[in-house]
């Protein structure tokens, strides 16, 4: 991607992060593929997450703790930290960039209106959840999410994704990934409460916050601090993963290449 477009995208990413502070009154209308009314959850709150990339060391503690807490099948993740090696072409210096990814609990989530049985829905507090008793496993929502935040859970054969650990939030606990974060990089909270830590930090860093793929118009509610524009959308990077297989040829994991 050329420089101008990249910068532009960075601007949009910032603007979109800013626009989210003005709460969109729930968009409800009857047109096909419009957002349906929200249901359940506390209408007084709006949960969001702020990820301070300056504090992320890429240890994947969140990945592991989320995996254990939410019993995701091997190979599927509700959150993962993308790791990039950035090499300066002239000096040859390298740096690493860590980017934790999870569901963005978008204000305009494209995964919701597509669901043919209303199994995926957005709560009044902004959290997007799946009722896996209702889900028919059509995977339409998996296609519709621009962030690859969803997958079909092979145990339940239904859609699965990050729920902001709603089961923990609802009883006053923090999400597993937040709890286990070594650097304290993940801050979750209610952005309708002006005194919450997330509200204070968002106010303090207003203008520096960015969201992922702003061009999709999803109004994500996971905000990144210390973000590099080049990673806002699909990065122009070379992949370097290798499958790790056991002796029977079954895939058991991945390994870095060239290390």
């Amino acid at each position: 991607m050329d420089k101008i477009r990249r910068a532009l995208l960075g601007q949009i990413a910032k603007l979109t992060a800013g626009a989210a502070l003005v709460p969109l009154s729930s968009i409800t209308s009857a047109d096909i593929n419009d957002q349906p009314p929200r249901r359940e959850g506390d209408p007084e709150r709006r949960y969001a997450m702020l990820i301070d990339l300056r504090a992320c060391i890429g240890c994947q503690a969140c990945t592991a703790s989320c995996h254990i807490e939410n019993e995701a099948p091997l190979g599927n993740f509700r959150t993962i930290v993308s790791q990039y090696e950035v090499e300066h072409e002239e000096t040859g210096n390298t740096a690493t960039f860590m980017l934790p990814r999870l569901c963005n609990h978008c204000e305009n989530p494209p995964c919701v209106p597509v669901c043919p049985v209303q199994a995926t829905f957005q709560r009044e507090d902004g959290i997007v959840v799946v009722d896996n008793e209702a889900c028919v496993g059509c995977a339409y929502c998996v296609q519709a999410c621009p962030y690859d935040a969803r997958f079909i859970n092979e145990y339940t054969q239904t859609a699965d994704k990050c729920t902001f650990c709603a089961h923990r939030l609802d009883v006053g606990l923090l999400p597993a990934c937040v709890e286990s974060c070594v650097g304290g990089a993940r801050i979750i909270g209610d952005i309708r409460d002006p005194d919450s830590q997330i509200s204070r930090m968002m106010k303090e860093h207003y203008g520096e916050l960015m969201v992922l793929k702003p061009e999709m118009g999803t109004a994500p509610h996971v905000f990144y601090l210390g973000m590099d524009e080049r990673f806002v959308s699909r990065p122009d990077a070379k992949p370097a993963i290798w499958d790790v297989r056991d002796q029977q040829g079954e895939e058991i994991g991945y390994e870095f290449s060239g290390h």
Partner: protein
Amino acid sequence: MNSAVIEVLAPRYGIAWYPWAVQYFFLIAISYSSLLLTVPGLLFGKKNYESLAKVALLVTVSCTLVGPVALLADLHQPLRFWHFYANLTPWSWMSIGSLLLPVYLILVVVYAWLAWRPAMQVQAQGEGWIAKLSGWVSLGQWCAPRWMLVVAGLGALVLSVGIMVYTGAEVAIVKARPLWNTYWLPVMFVLTGLVAAAGLVILINRLMTGNDQEVNEQSLKVIFVTMVLSALVAALWVSEGITGFSPSVEQAFASLQRNPEWRAVAIYGLLVGVALTLSAIAMLRRPGWIGRSWLAGLLAVHIGWTFRWMVLMEVQTVAKNTAGYYHYAIEAGSSGLMGIIGTFGLWLAALLIIDILVPWKKSLQASTH
């Protein structure tokens, strides 16, 4: 700052729609397209299109019956299909489709039943179990007035437009996949559906009837016209991407940049498209060649199916977030190869059962009244 970026860690994302989806989109497109091919001969009663209508009706019914089975199989929880009807969701294209599909299916079956009924009533006069069965299926010897056929046919046509719109829109609204997110996709589904349906009609005409030249000629004309239109649509789509008129097409191009496999696919598509169009012209112009139309028929079916395979399966391997492409190797199990073979097997079975039970080559109701 110029820098090279390597993504050192990324999870592997599987595909979420399996080859079953390709089978459904293929069969249902052939279904509505060959329904259109029955219109002049059966609905308007034009004598010189009757042979075409006979073959096309058989194709329509067999594909309409088998398509929904493939759709059901693509659900990870197929036994929960009733949830579609317990939770009507008017804002979801897929939910709208789940309402249209059964009505469409019923109307197509009624339309075919009325068309085949006179011949079945004659068959019911004979001896043996097939005669007996024909008697039951035709529900007596009373004469169904022609308006019933016309109503069922028109109803099926109206619903078929609904099927065209919903199958197209369902995929085209997905912004997350720029390669799908274009108004041209639904149009392309219909056009390539017509190509494949005409091709299948030619094949059935070769294998099950006496390779009727009129049917070949009419189908080749359909192939020619729809191929020219497809080329036009493809050209428009490409120009939208090049000029940046459509940001989503531009993004689609960007997502495939520098990928040799996708370039090969584009070149292949161009080549087979040109080959089919030229052979359709050649066969129409050289009287001696029309008997070999089945070659064009094979190519046409191939194009219709492969287009859906590329659109629905290969596009899923284009990563949304991460670098590179996901690898998708078709599995041998029921979600992969067996699914593809199984659907075609089921379709063949449906075709043969109809062939045994229904005297579909006899006059249709269109001409008996």
